[in-house]
C-alpha cells in the first residue's frame, strides 16, 4: 500500500517500538521544513523529518539510533500546530510511523494523519509522561495501541487514550479515506449546490 493512494483498509490494532519526542507546540515547519515542500510529490520526505532540529541538536531523539525502526511516536501538547502541510504526516508515515500518542494535537494535523491511516491518540499529561519515560529508558519495549478501546500498552504499563469517535469508527470500518463515500450519492451533492443562491447567481 502506498501512502499516496491509500485503499480502504480496517485499522484496529497497531504495534511497534516507541519514540518519545518531548516538547510542546511542535509545529509542522519543524516536522517538515518548508524548503522540502518545493516538490511535486511526497516521495522522499521521510529523509527530511525534523531535519533542522536534528542538525541543530546532535542529541535530538530522531538522531538516537536506539529508536531506529520505531513505529509509535509519543508527544506532548498541540503537536503538529501551524501549517496545514500534509507533507508533515506524509514524512512520518513514509518513515514507518503507524500511530502517535500525545496530550493534544492540532486539528488539521490530526485530520491529515487520519487520511493517511495514522491515528493520533489523545491521553492525559501524566500518562503521556509515564509512557515517554518508559520508552526513553527501554527503547526495545513494544507498544500496542487498540483503536476500539483506546488502550495503549508498553510492557507492563497500560494507559487509556482516545480518538475522536468519527475517526475511530472510520479506522475500524476501513473508511478512513472518505473520497469514495463522498462520491457515493452525488445527486445529493448536486441538489445542495442547486439550493445555494450563490451557486445559481442569486
Amino acid at each position: 500500500m502506498s501512502p499516496a493512494s491509500p485503499q480502504p483498509l480496517a485499522i484496529s490494532h497497531l504495534a511497534g517500538r516507541g519514540l518519545p519526542l518531548r516538547g510542546h507546540d511542535i509545529d509542522t515547519d519543524r516536522i517538515m521544513p518548508a524548503r522540502f515542500l518545493v516538490a511535486v510529490s511526497f516521495e522522499g520526505l521521510e529523509q527530511h523529518l525534523f531535519e533542522d532540529d536534528r542538525k541543530g541538536d546532535p542529541d535530538h531523539v530522531f538522531n538516537d539510533p536506539r529508536f531506529n525502526g520505531a513505529a509509535i511516536l509519543v508527544v506532548n501538547t498541540n503537536f503538529g500546530c501551524g501549517s496545514s502541510r500534509e507533507h508533515a504526516p506524509q514524512g512520518l508515515v513514509r518513515a514507518g510511523y503507524r500511530a502517535i500518542v500525545g496530550e493534544s494535537f492540532s486539528e488539521i494535523f490530526q485530520g491529515n494523519s487520519a487520511m493517511l491511516g495514522m491515528p493520533c491518540f489523545v491521553a492525559s499529561h501524566d500518562d503521556v509522561e509515564r509512557l515517554q519515560a518508559l520508552v526513553a529508558g527501554s527503547p526495545e519495549v513494544v507498544m500496542t495501541a487498540d483503536v476500539a478501546s483506546g488502550a495503549i500498552t508498553a510492557g507492563t504499563l497500560k494507559i487509556a487514550a482516545s480518538l475522536p469517535p468519527a475517526l475511530r469508527d472510520g479506522f475500524l470500518s476501513g473508511q478512513w479515506n472518505p473520497t469514495a463515500m463522498l462520491l457515493d450519492r452525488f445527486d445529493e451533492v448536486r441538489a445542495v449546490a442547486a439550493r445555494l443562491p450563490y451557486v445559481s447567481g442569486f
Binding site: 499516496a4 493512494s5 516538547g23 507546540d25 509545529d27 515547519d29 519543524r30 521544513p33 518548508a34 524548503r35 515542500l37 518545493v38 516538490a39 511535486v40 510529490s41 511526497f42 533542522d52 541543530g56 501538547t77 498541540n78 500546530c81 501551524g82 501549517s83 496545514s84 502541510r85 500534509e86 507533507h87 504526516p89 493534544s104 492540532s106 486539528e107 488539521i108 485530520g111 491529515n112 487520511m115 493517511l116 469517535p165 468519527a166 469508527d169 472510520g170 470500518s173 473508511q175 479515506n177 472518505p178 473520497t179 463515500m181 463522498l182 462520491l183 450519492r185 452525488f186 451533492v189 445542495v192 449546490a193 439550493r195 445555494l196 443562491p197 450563490y198 451557486v199 447567481g201 442569486f202
Partner: protein, 463 residues
Amino acid sequence: MAATLFQKVWDAHAVRVLPSGQTQLFVGLHLVHEVTSPQAFDMLRQHGWKVAFPDRTFATADHIVPTKSQQRPFLDLMAEEMMGALERNCRGAGIRLWAPDNDNQGIVHVIGPELGLTQPGMTIACGDSHTSTHGALGAIAFGIGTSQVRDVLASQCLALDPLKVRRVEVSGRLSPGVFAKDVILTIIRRLGVHGGGGFAYEYGGSTLDAMTMDERMTICNMSIEGGARIGYVNPDDRTFEYLRGRPFAPKDGDAFEHAVAWWRQMASDANARYDDHVKFDAASIEPTVTWGINPGQSVAVTEPIDAEPDDEALAFMGFKPGSRVQGTKIDVAFIGSCTNGRLSDLEEAARIVKGHHVAPHVKALIVPGSRAVSRAAEARGLHEIFIAAGFEWRGAGCSMCLGMNPDKLEGRQVSASSSNRNFKGRQGSPTGRTLLMSPAMVAAAAIAGEVVDVREMLEGVPA
C-alpha cells in the same frame, strides 16, 4: 430558532451524515495553489476521477513565486516544475488560474476577497491553514491537507465534524499606533496557541464593527495561530459595500440586492447561543511584539518578557527573562504576507516611513500581497516613498513569510516581520529569528534599526 452564522452556513451546505458520523459538507469555493495541489491532482488521475465542479475552483501561484523577477522560467528549476504542474493541471481540468504573469495574481488569501470570489455565507476550503482569512467576509473558511484537496477536487465536498463556536468580543477604541495585528496577537496570547482547538472563533464587538475589511482579514487570518481553524466576522454593511462592484461579486442591481438579503440572513442572530464567550478591552491593547517561537509568546513592546528562565524559546531567541524586546537590533524588515500585505497595511507603513531612511544595516522589503495591491499602491505613490527610504519594492507573493522562495533569512539574522509565524526556521534559516509585529511597527524598526515603540514615531505624523 436563534443560530450562529457557523450553524446556518453548516446547515445550508450539509449534504448528509456519512456512515462514519461525520457530515458531508459542500464546499462553495475551492482555492488552489502550487504547493499542496500537485499530489492531489496525481491522486485524482490514479483513481480516474474528474474535477467535479471546475467552475467553483480557482487557482493562483504564491508560495514559490520569486519576488525580485517573476520572469519564466523561474531560476529554481523545481519551482518552475511546480508552476508547470499547476498550469497543466488547471488547463486539463478547466480550472481558472492566475499565473504570475496575470494581473490578478497574488497570495491566494489576498486575491479571494479582492476579486469578490469570497462572499458571506459560503464554505471555502484551500490547502493552506491561513484560509481562515476569508472568514472576515462572513464565510466559513478553513485550511485542509492535500488528501482533502483531492476530496474537494473529486467531489466538491469534505467529511467533517462540526465545531463549537466561541464568541470573541473586542470592545472600545484602539489607541493610536495600535492595529488589528496587535489585537489578534493579544487574543492569541491570552487564549493560547491551542486555545481554539475544537472551536470556530466568531469575532465581534464595537472594535470589530469599526474595523475595515482589511483589518478584519488580519484578525481572521491568524485564528489558526490560536488553534482555531475557522475565524469569522458577521457580515454587515461594510462587508457589502466592500464587495459591491468586485469582478466576481453579484452584479450591481437586483442580483446584488438579493445577495445582500441572503447575506444578512446568514449572520448570527442577536440571541444566538455560544459554547463560550470571551471579552477583550481594546483600550488596554498596546503595540505588541513576539519574543518567542510561537505566536502566543508576545508582550506589549514596553513590557518585560514574562517567560520562565528555562524556556527553550528564550535560549533560541537570545533573550533573557525580564528583558524587553524594545531595543533589539534587527537585520531584516519584512512587510507583506496574507496577514498584512494589503493596501491599508502599506499605507500605514508609508505614513511612518515618509521622510525617513532605513537604517544602514537593515535589509528592508515591501512585498505587496497581490498585483492589484501593488498597482493600487503605485497609483498612490507609496512605492516612491518606500524606495526613497531605502526599501526594496518587490513583486507579489508569499516571500519571506516562509522559506519556499529566494527571500530567506540567513544564519542567526533577526527579522521584524508583519507575517504570522515566528516558528523556528520559518523564514528560511534554521537559526533565523522572527519578531512578529504590525506593519507600522516593522516600518518603525526598519528606520530605527531596532525594535521601537511606533507610538514615539507617530508624534507629529498626520493621521
